[in-house]
Amino acid sequence: MKASNPFWREKILDRIPKNLAEEIDAFETEIKLRKDGKIDEKVFAETRLRRGAYGQRYDNGHRNDGNRTRKLKFPCADLTKGPGTVWDAPGMLRIKLPYGGTTAEQLEMMAELAEEYADGISHVTTRQDWQLHFIHIDDTPTIMRRLAAVGITTREACGNSVRNVTACPCAGVCTTEAFDVTPYAHALTYFLMGHPDCQDFGRKVKPAFSGCAEKACGLVNMHDIGFIAKTRTVNGKVERGFEMYVGGGLGAAPRQAKVLQEFVTEGEILPLSQAIARVFGRLGEKANRSRARVKFLVEKLGIEEFRKLVFEERAILADDPRWTSYLKDIHALDEKPVREDIVAGPEPTDADYKDWRRTNVADQRQPGYHMVEINLPLGDITSDQLRALADICRKYIGDAIRTTVEQNLLLRWVAAADLPALFTDLKSANLASKGAGTIVDITSCPGTDTCKLGTSASRGLAGELMNRLSEKYYSMDEAIKGLKIKISGCFNSCGQHHISDLGFFGVGRMFDGHTVPHFQVVLGGQWDQNGGSYGLGIGAVPSKNIPATVDRLTEAFLKDHKDGERFKDYVERVGKGSIKEMINDLMTIPKHSEDPSFYSDWGDTREYTKDDIGIGECAGELVSSFVFDMTASERLVFEAQLALDKKDVDDAARLAWKAMETAATGMLKLKLPNVPKTTEDVLKHFREQYYDTKLFFDPFAGGKFAGYFFDAWENRAKKHTVESVHTLIEEAGLFAEGCYNCHARMSEKTVKA
């Protein structure tokens, strides 16, 4: 899509870690192969998802324009990037930020990418990722390279994989934490990323870390795997560890996580997570995608049985030095202040500064330093703002920046004396909006703006509420200011509506022969204690009546709440029945002829329809790791041919061998619980499992194709010629075919049996 795509690789290759460079090259080759029809669309879909390249609304090539559904005639014709997903249709790229940690240089890179490839906006998600929208798939390898050059990967940001490892953004500077969870989140991220035991899930796994049990920041209760930092004293020595949780999640069927073990020592969190991954990979649902999360497996087995299986699995795991090697350098990621803790002078007394100071600034554990939250409207930030922010960070805090699960940015290590100057600098970049974490700081998923599953315009509603509430902010009672509003475009809860005081999720209702956009009103959720309880829907209100609903409920709360009573407790005390009574009249819909505005959604003038709802990619495509390995093997055969075309005989031979080894490894995964780690082991096990048993033998060719594999290894020291490599590539291709055929025969036998 971008004319410069072919020119970036060479320019920045020396700044990209070798493994990432190879992965991105491989993805670029897979794009070429898909365009040539040499990779199945399902396999390509899961491949791109595992690299963060996600679908976006209307990528099925259809859109309702308010009058009728029309075909979007993209120039790529029938080429797809997944089932029902048109190649040329704009997509989203999700960019992983482990524990939300980011740097000034990375902010500048996001600014560049948003301008050149997206629509000028970088978006912070509710899981501390970045997202870029309206991206063309052909541009993604270049974007990935530019990200990799500043230390960011999109790997496993989507798909059936371990997603971003989130953590409390205050980690390391928080006043209530047991200890800094940052190094543990970092270690878990890179231990599980690409781990062979995490490649065969039915769906995604989301881990989270929290520094304490009381606050919300880590939201451990709604995660598949969760960790709450704890210490204990043994023989007078303080030991670090975690209360470990499993099986939490929101979505259509929310579940609170259950305690796996009350104290897991720091050295055990990685192997235990690996054991969970293996149990989930082996026993988790695969066929029914809506039941394929850890929470359903925990529910099906019961937490006691699940726990037993996990610890049994843990007991048989082969030792891995990575489990504990990071502990030797546990302070490697510690941040240091850029500015000295100088004595602060008198602070400005103007209302703007005071409001911002009260809502957006919090004390750090370290005396004289503060955290400053930047309240981003709906998680959006422009490229000019990102560059300005990078300058501000370098001036005051260096790289001590985190994204938050409330779609904001957190600056850490701000010296008290710098607060007034920082405020002035942020204000000049339009980044000093007050009210972070208050009722005006509304969380919203993308909803119908860009999500394929969106039912209603969550961002449109959030924007409308933000405007209305901001106008009243100065006259608002503190009890109201402290409430939280979170909105999802559908029941899937990406906007985290379950753990909000006032939660909303999009639904549609038929009335007067039309579909009317609505939001289900969810009350009773709890943000604190890591998302301590989930709210329930009390009824659906037309979208256009939601602002009035918010007014009605907040006014009632203000009038009737007891001193210090939380909204959740107020709802319980008054009763949902009575609360529903308060808004019953707002649930009625005028006829279309009386008020057609009810039949359009916020921020969208089209008449509302549910025709545009597509098939989500959250669940990814169910592709076994055998298929992935075989796809990689075929790609390597192709790359070997390209190397041979360039007369690079040695590289061609290396790639051809790698293709064979990759295919053999895929075959072994069908038989062995653990992937052999060395080439010698792959050869040994392949011979035992497939050759000696004659399982690999073709009815016509016998064991010939396996012989190619063994011979290639025997002859590895041989000096290759163009001719001999040509033969080797051919044999690598035939060996891959042999693997496919063997797999097919085994599958047929299973079906017959």
């Binding site: 899509m1 971008k2 004319a3 410069s4 020119f7 970036w8 320019k11 609304r57 209307y58 859109r63 324009d65 308010g66 009058n67 979007l72 005639k73 993209f74 120039p75 040329d88 249709a89 704009p90 500048e108 600014a111 560049e112 301008e115 050149e116 629509d119 000028g120 906006i121 929208h133 309206f134 063309h136 409207p377 709906l378 959006d380 930030i381 422009t382 000019d384 703002q385 560059r387 339009n430 703006d449 860009t450 961002r459 449109g460 924007g463 933000m466 405007n467 921020g603 969208d604 003038t605 089209r606």
Partner: protein, 188 residues
């Protein structure tokens, strides 16, 4: 300028609105949605993105396959921006001409819409040209020197003979962005 086989690509043009206070940015949502219904532009029109809540942001964007068309408020200056995304055929001069022409058409179409009629006035001596690709057009004096003859020729042909002065954004992190001023008024 970086020598490439393709020359420059991804030219953006922005005409500034003189009376920004007279119009409501969100009114463009309905206009752009209507343009999609009526196939008003020779491009595959996909969707409308609303960034009105972002201060000094991209505003309201009509997303086309080849080009993004927006009522843009970057740098706090409301204007009509066309942002060419796909590769186009032609010399540098032709590409600049094409995008200036396209931006003018969009300005005129907006002026003709009932909701903006009589309210929308464009600056007649200033516009912005961006090459939205840091690899093809680094933001340097060399790029400006190399492109200047093409820019001058394209401007003269589309907006009329005048002396055009170019002010390049000096932030080295920026894209190649030039604010163009004309010593004679032009008609948008």
């Amino acid at each position: 300028m970086q020598a490439t086989e393709n020359g420059i690509q991804h030219v953006n043009v922005k005409f500034f609105i003189k009376n920004a206070d007279a119009i409501k940015m969100s009114d463009a949502i309905g206009v752009f949605q209507k343009w999609i219904q009526e196939d008003k532009i020779d491009d595959l029109l996909i969707d409308v993105a609303d960034y009105a809540q972002v201060p000094e942001g991209p505003g309201i964007v009509l997303v086309g396959h080849n080009t993004l068309y927006s009522l843009d408020n970057n740098e706090g200056r409301l204007g009509v921006l066309v942002n060419r995304r796909t590769v186009a055929e032609g010399s540098n001069q032709e590409l600049v001409k094409k995008e200036i022409g396209k931006a003018r058409v969009i300005c005129q179409m907006l002026q003709a819409e009932a909701v903006f009629k009589g309210k929308l006035e464009f600056a007649d001596n200033e516009l912005q040209i961006i090459v939205n690709d840091r690899r093809l057009a680094p933001n340097t004096d060399e790029t400006l020197a190399a492109l200047k003859p093409d820019l001058e020729a394209a401007l003269a042909e589309t907006l009329g003979a005048a002396t055009y002065s170019f002010e390049r954004n000096q932030d080295p992190r920026s894209r190649f962005v030039v604010n163009v001023k004309s010593d004679k008024p032009f008609t948008v």
